[in-house]
Symmetry: C2
Subunit: 414 residues, 2 copies
């Protein structure tokens, strides 16, 4: 057995215990972890300082160091998140269907844990606590593979969590951090069939691509989003300007931020200056096609590489279309199936767009920024799936479960 | 664009039409295909004779030739299957959840088609018609990759289906057969990301393994099953004998057939001779551990390779355990997560087994042979999933859909 297989086997064995753990035990563990994180604050901060210093010395960007840095408040925030997850309903044991067949067989389809979930992520140490909380509540063991830049922080956080798990009588291998930061280990984790039931990559497009390309275990892709807002001829222009402004500028780095504005030719002359003026308040750079440039004196000319691009920045592509059908076609070609929006007061046009655009979330007269577990009422999320199997959109606790058929008979044979 | 990408793009474009096709159109297409198959009976039979002759000349087994061979009745059976699928409820458009958020956003989660489904299968030409029917009804385009030994039969079947699709005004690329039988094309299909939304391998363990190892598109594994029956100390022995007999012998070649009998030590002396006598009626070869051999004069000694083995034949492994917990552990180690059964009159023991065994279907006092779309009331199935994501157990029409959130707002921003 390799070291990683040993970790896999231990996690699998913990998962068998977790599978039957009752709600109260899991909640007690979450609350104990919350206390343990607060109790270990100094150790965690000291470990984090090592990571941050190393990051500074190797010339990491300010944004990177900000994601990496913990503070007493951030640790309290992680603890608070644990308590919030404890307060959410247990997704395990939900009855998904219940039928009696003509031969008397009684079939109950119930939600069960998935088993062992591996999470590969980058430099944010709060993802460590966050992923563990959601996996634990949904009855799964988790194998964490954080970025090497956060290894000291993650080690300290996981040590505190494992101590708390032991304290409530759950296996400490419920939460395991892979401490070996060698890249080959990440590759091997993606191919740990027989131990890993689900792999969730949480990070940028490069990570997702590497996982899709290399993984042989089941994967849920998360996170990549090129979202469009289509402003229809029947749009309320001030509403359109507010929605575009919010979707582009409220948090440009996230996957539900809008990247491309599509405008109906029939309303372009009226709408584009209003929208552009609003976006100018945040100095958004516009990259527009030739026709749109005529209404946008400060825009740069767009090139083909601007369509379908996820800027994650204060930049927005602008393209004029002949109407809703061209908008739908454009999105089919360039969208990533995350969140797509139409602004219109025409309900027929809206329904056409909502039915024909294939994405995790399609919006009529609302910002794409709402695609989020909290905003959708799921309580928490481990990511946003842009794939079509298992779960699409925000992945909450229910999405971290599988199902099984429990069949009660009285001797039936076929 | 490669030839395969051209096929993928055409299927994707058909899928966009199918996504919005109403139930009546899809049903009309299914009925037209049924008529077209009956109408093309002579051509299909002639094409099938070519395949069967080639198979005979290359020394294929009788069982193989039987799976490959069509008859007028089998073609009528395919047509009848089309009509049955037409009669099933449309899985698209089901409302999965419907909520209004405190900010007034109205979220409706609805079932939508997956898009383009690729099916890789072996020599049975009826899988061609069957897969196409289920994909069409669920609003998906399908790319079929049948075994090269059935290429003439499949070509004739698909030609008839495409003609019928044109006749009702649906794109003929709703159903595409890959006619190039080169193995490299199969490999490329497994990696046709951007065109294929789901790949379903239907066939033996070797095919499934090749797909899991090589595919970069999302996959649902189907078909492998090493099912156990545990006869508990509190079992009704005649019932146990009937269930084991049925699960082993009613159709040994299928994935829900039982492969291994686990017997509680406390009842072994009483139960094993009774069960063995029943199995002897069908000349089932028993491969038993040393302890069980003492009660089974005709058994062969089992070796380690017998545990977890899918015989697909009139062979059964027999192992004595100390009770339900050892049975659960044995199944955790050797089961494939398909169907597992306990025979007992003790409800507490039964619940322990049902809760702790992690499989698509867990049975109390009934044959594992019931794990089947028809038997579970799904109407039809495209396979039985033994993985934990998206769908577990029989894959019916509902399992061939994805979901999306439709969000209606009145200008909400975040």
């Amino acid at each position: 057995m390799t070291e990683l297989e040993t970790i896999g086997a231990a996690a699998k064995s913990a998962a068998r215990v977790l599978m039957c753990a009752d709600t109260e035990t899991k909640n007690r563990a979450l609350l104990a972890i919350a206390d343990a994180l607060v109790g270990a604050r100094e150790e965690i901060l000291a470990a984090n300082r090592e990571d941050v210093t190393a990051g500074e010395n190797s010339g990491m960007t300010r944004a990177f160091l900000d994601r990496l840095s913990l503070s007493p408040e951030r640790i309290d925030g992680m603890a608070e998140e644990m308590r919030q997850v404890a307060a959410l309903p247990d997704p395990v044991g939900r009855v998904l269907s219940d039928t009696v067949r003509p031969n008397g067989l009684h079939l109950t389809k119930v939600a069960v844990p998935i088993g062992v979930i591996a999470v590969i992520y980058e430099a944010r140490p709060n993802v460590t606590a966050d992923s563990a909380a959601l996996c634990l509540k949904s009855g799964n063991a988790v194998i964490l593979r954080g970025g090497r830049e956060a290894i000291h922080s993650n080690t300290a956080i996981v040590r505190a969590m494992r101590g708390a798990l032991r304290g409530v009588g759950l296996p400490e291998d419920t939460v395991t951090l892979i401490e070996d930061t060698d890249r080959a280990v990440t590759q091997a984790l993606m191919r740990l069939n027989g131990y890993v039931d689900l792999l969730i990559p949480r990070g940028g497009a490069g990570l997702i691509r590497a996982v899709v390309e290399n993984a042989t275990v089941p994967v849920i892709e998360t996170g990549a989003g090129t979202c469009h807002i289509y402003v229809d001829r029947d749009a309320d222009v001030p509403m359109a300007a507010e929605i575009v402004f919010n979707a582009k500028t409220s948090r440009p780095s996230v996957c539900n931020a809008a990247e491309c504005l599509l405008v109906d030719r029939a309303i372009a002359a009226e709408a584009l200056p209003v929208i552009a003026a609003r976006l100018a308040e945040k100095q958004v750079e516009l990259r527009a096609d030739a026709e749109a440039c005529a209404f946008l004196p400060n825009a740069l000319p767009a090139t083909d590489s601007d369509w379908g691009r996820e800027y994650n920045d204060y930049i927005m592509a602008v393209h004029i279309v002949s109407g809703v059908d061209e908008a739908i076609d454009f999105i089919a070609r360039y969208g990533t199936g995350h969140s797509e929006c139409i602004v219109t007061d025409n309900p027929v046009t809206a329904e056409r767009f909502l039915a024909r655009v294939d994405a995790a979330a399609v919006y009529h007269n609302a910002s794409t920024r709402f695609t989020d577990g909290g905003e959708f009422g799921l309580g928490a999320e481990i990511g946003i799936s842009t794939q079509k199997l298992h779960a699409r959109g925000p992945l909450g606790l229910e999405e971290l479960t599988s199902m099984k058929y429990i069949v009660h008979g009285t001797g039936q044979v076929r």
